[in-house]
Subunit: 686 residues, 2 copies
Amino acid sequence: MHRFLLALGLLLCLPSRAEEGMWTYDAFPSEAVKKAYGFAPTQAWLDSVRLGSVRLAGGCSASFVSPNGLVMTNHHCIRSCVEDLSSPQKDLLATGFFAPESQSELRCPKVEANQLVEMTDVTARMNTATKGLSGAPFNTALKAEMTKVETECATGPDVRCDVVTLYNGGKYHLYKYRRFQDVRLAFAPEFPMASFGGDPDNFNFPRYGFDVAFVRVWENGQPAKTPHYLPWAKQGVKEGELVFVSGHPGGTERKGSVAELEFQRDVALPYTLLYLSELRGMLREFSQGSPERLRITRSHLRSVENGLKALRGRHQALADSSLLAQKRKAEAELRAKVLAHPKLKASTAGAWDEVTQALELYRPLLPEYRLKEAGDGFQSELFTLARQLVRAADELPKPNAERLREYTEGQLPALRQQLLREAPIPQDLEVATLTFGLNRLRETLGADDSFVKAVLGRESPADLARALVTGTKLQDVKVRQSLLEGGKAAVEASQDPMIVLARKVDTEARAVRKRYEDTVEAVLKRNGERLAQARLAVYGTSGYPDATFTLRLNYGAVKGWQENGRAVAPFTTFGGAWERHTGKDPFKLPDTWLAARGKVPPETPLDMATTNDIIGGNSGSPMVNKDGHVVGLIFDGNLHSLGGRYAYVPETNRAVAVTGVGILAGLEHLYGAQRLVEELRAAQAP
Amino acid sequence: MHRFLLALGLLLCLPSRAEEGMWTYDAFPSEAVKKAYGFAPTQAWLDSVRLGSVRLAGGCSASFVSPNGLVMTNHHCIRSCVEDLSSPQKDLLATGFFAPESQSELRCPKVEANQLVEMTDVTARMNTATKGLSGAPFNTALKAEMTKVETECATGPDVRCDVVTLYNGGKYHLYKYRRFQDVRLAFAPEFPMASFGGDPDNFNFPRYGFDVAFVRVWENGQPAKTPHYLPWAKQGVKEGELVFVSGHPGGTERKGSVAELEFQRDVALPYTLLYLSELRGMLREFSQGSPERLRITRSHLRSVENGLKALRGRHQALADSSLLAQKRKAEAELRAKVLAHPKLKASTAGAWDEVTQALELYRPLLPEYRLKEAGDGFQSELFTLARQLVRAADELPKPNAERLREYTEGQLPALRQQLLREAPIPQDLEVATLTFGLNRLRETLGADDSFVKAVLGRESPADLARALVTGTKLQDVKVRQSLLEGGKAAVEASQDPMIVLARKVDTEARAVRKRYEDTVEAVLKRNGERLAQARLAVYGTSGYPDATFTLRLNYGAVKGWQENGRAVAPFTTFGGAWERHTGKDPFKLPDTWLAARGKVPPETPLDMATTNDIIGGNSGSPMVNKDGHVVGLIFDGNLHSLGGRYAYVPETNRAVAVTGVGILAGLEHLYGAQRLVEELRAAQAP
């Protein structure tokens, strides 16, 4: 390979600059860190931080911070758990929660934690399976081989195996995780404190959120043993200091083709933004109806608002012509290099055109796919459960490799956890969101569309939603269990209205999914892979792969930035939070914080900004110093980081973290969580 | 001029095709109509249809249909009047309204009707005033000269004079209107019937709306004499028949530069779409709170939904790469022709670049401008009144030519009508929308922005909005009148909280407006004018000018189209409406219609589609046959017509109208509006 690259004269072409990069652990640029900061992580350092890192399967990051299974993450990463554990009488989101001893920790109904224990390159095997294929057959073979590899690897319910895509299909790795499904809540602050500043401050800095939570993984009725953990640092960090973030960035498109970026800008993002912003308007107003409505809505609303703001930032980045100009230039350069090399020219023939054509097919298909199959038309937990039951009945009897991916053996523990969770499903909110989805369905596809007519008949969306939600029995776990265990016969016989609806729409929903997968996804994947292989041939792996919710390590420094000519300092303090308190939500500090004046020095650092290259999915990531000791907890990025989906801009892109010092001060002096403080102190390096 | 064009060899280059075109009355292509349909309108025909056409100053079209001031328009054009005349006890939007004699017609608090009586070319005068100027001085001189011309022309409150921009600044005309401010409601159907099918059917066809209303202009306590009116046709139209539409298309950008279209696609439309869709979500949910909330919200909600759907259609048109490719080609062609001609090359030097630069400045300014100055941050009728009073106090003492345009003498009748209208302002809705606006303001500019801090202090948007709305006395017309008449001293002394807020924000709001006008608007206008003059020099006026809410005539035929390979027929019928009735809003027919089965033959045509090139603002336009007799009433376009903002696509772009036959049948057999039927019959041509 090196000779080939040398022949192209390209080995010196390093596309990333400075702190940019979401590096896999097997290709971390230690030398670059050494050059910039005088410190190079060793293999032992890397292994230790990797094994101390945790993935929350729902889409977050976390870390082990004691040998007894204690896990640190963001409050917003386990917010739905706190909500599930709440009731009108006991509102843990409002009050926060602390378990004074481990036995009183509360089990989260649907949280799964994973620890990455092994990574294997399976590119050759995947390539063999898809050799010579394209379009739908390529996609089918790829998925079947993934399922096969994963099934061979998953030797029990405590092992999770995922074939992950790296370098846009240039490489495939098998990631083997230790799986924990008994995850219990140990500490959560009040939601208003975790999200202090609400939507206005979200993705902004200076910031004063205490977005912290601790859970614990249990095994066999005991706290699990986790000998690999990240010890708490004895000292906080200073401005300019080197810090590392280990976590699971959810997705970037830095290597995406220009056509795909334009499609995002013009079609996909506008669709989703409009959907979410109307949903936000509805949910905010709905939540004002009564205190109970507020209680059942605020977590979902916060998620919607967060997603909306993040996607708006992305759209703005793409709407900035300079970003796309830069991408066009890079793509033109790659095309020129590829064309100049006969082998690559042949291997990529037609690839860019096929991408463009697939996107043209996707354009009219996208709303249909999102509404009928991807949930937008049926915004309801109860409907989702119904569909999962209907599909499980169809899929589970099939051979493993022929099933829809989410029903393969490796996915069953997660599926069972979701279907059999003990968590309340508030009817009022279900009616509101399902009405919203059905209205969208009718508006978008038209009142005369046959699918719309099949769903609605002569009902209005609101009346139908109410009838479905009040008529179904699926909120009862026992009902779901009997349908899951009863299989096809039980599901076919069910007269539950939500099951009836899910059955009725499934043929068409599957059809639109198949059309999407065969004509869009398959083409984008296959050509993405061809182009990725060409890019690897030209530039090598000196760059890092786009993020795919797989574990990455990056480095950076504690650092502010210039905003419109004004310097933004890298730290905020407890004193700043007290000043920002107006008494009005979302700038209302809870009593714990108001009472703490005098107990914590006002200059105690609370949040900080760093240059680490992170993105959604990194929430909950530990931040460690060069000793591998915890100095912070990632919970956000600034507005400029949102464009990081497409490009990292070192001057302004900043990660936002709660400081380790602030976390400890809060636990000890505000929340009296002495047990956890002692556990963290005991786990400190000597 | 002709020699010059002949020299360029371009006289034969007619850019428009078939029915495309929103023609001014002084340049109607009668010969083209003759060629296509064997009929050429004469000058007398044109004058007669022009004088029968009416503009509703709020943004709609209409027509005189009797010699006694009877005006036909859409229900949705006078919906706010019907709402203003309603109360919880007497809900005219729900019940509809018919005045059995002219004395019981009800005055609309804020409707103004205009009849175009004279058009004068004032291009030379405007060009002289701005000669050699650019940037802010250009803009200032242009506006001052407009004000001067208008003031000279406006000889009394019943005369309205507007200098209108045609050909993107290539020409300026002075339009002189007869002004009617005493406009009274004679007939309106039920809102659910006018908007039958609601948002799902809006911009769709087949369609079954009865979006019809009749008002009457009065003078001196009597129905006004309107000798120029459009007689009702004795027979309906047939498929393929030639029809004309005379009305006021609000705005098109068919001649806009590519940079401006990209700005719309990437910046302006996404901003507005996100604002409106969240507002829609809020208003829909708000309206569900109680029957009274529904009553006060539904009209506003409908407007928001209509705007949202229209803008979404526009965005989709721009997101279609083929449209922009075509625009890029046309622009490149124009640039090439301009460069090839030394005089034009000199006159347009730097014009495209200046447009691009102005848009770059606009990008970060747009949200600020819209929030602080253009109403988005202060969504409240009461605030708008407060601002008008504050500004009137500042502006009216100035010399006329130095005032903000909306406070010049010619605009005073409209301003007084708005400020002194007797119409209820529902507090609940005001609180909801003002809260919405203030939240947007804070989210967009950030909680730390100085303007935001000045507005909110330590209040929450919701609490501040409630305090302002419940604290102000501006809902009382007498209070407004005394502030208007009291001038600066009265406004300065006022402690009314809404006036206090309007005063507090005015300096900054004016500053951002000035920044917008000086650095964006002025540059776009000046260069738009330069490019327009070059375009006229190259292509002549063989094309039609972009729409600017000025009177236009176009021609077309009654015709369906092919939608995804399926034929859409051009007519719907009363029978179709009965079939579409589901009993659930928005597909619930009112009792008048349900009771009418058997009274009206089901095959009676109700709505129809035609190829006329129309756009928002054309609502309420009369449709006439070649005799100049009324055969329909425009009330919508199909989804494909939304892209007509940028380009007319003859295959699919359709106007949607209520048939004249359907209107008469409805009035006579469903609503028993015998008096109006007789008036229309009496006015029929012999």
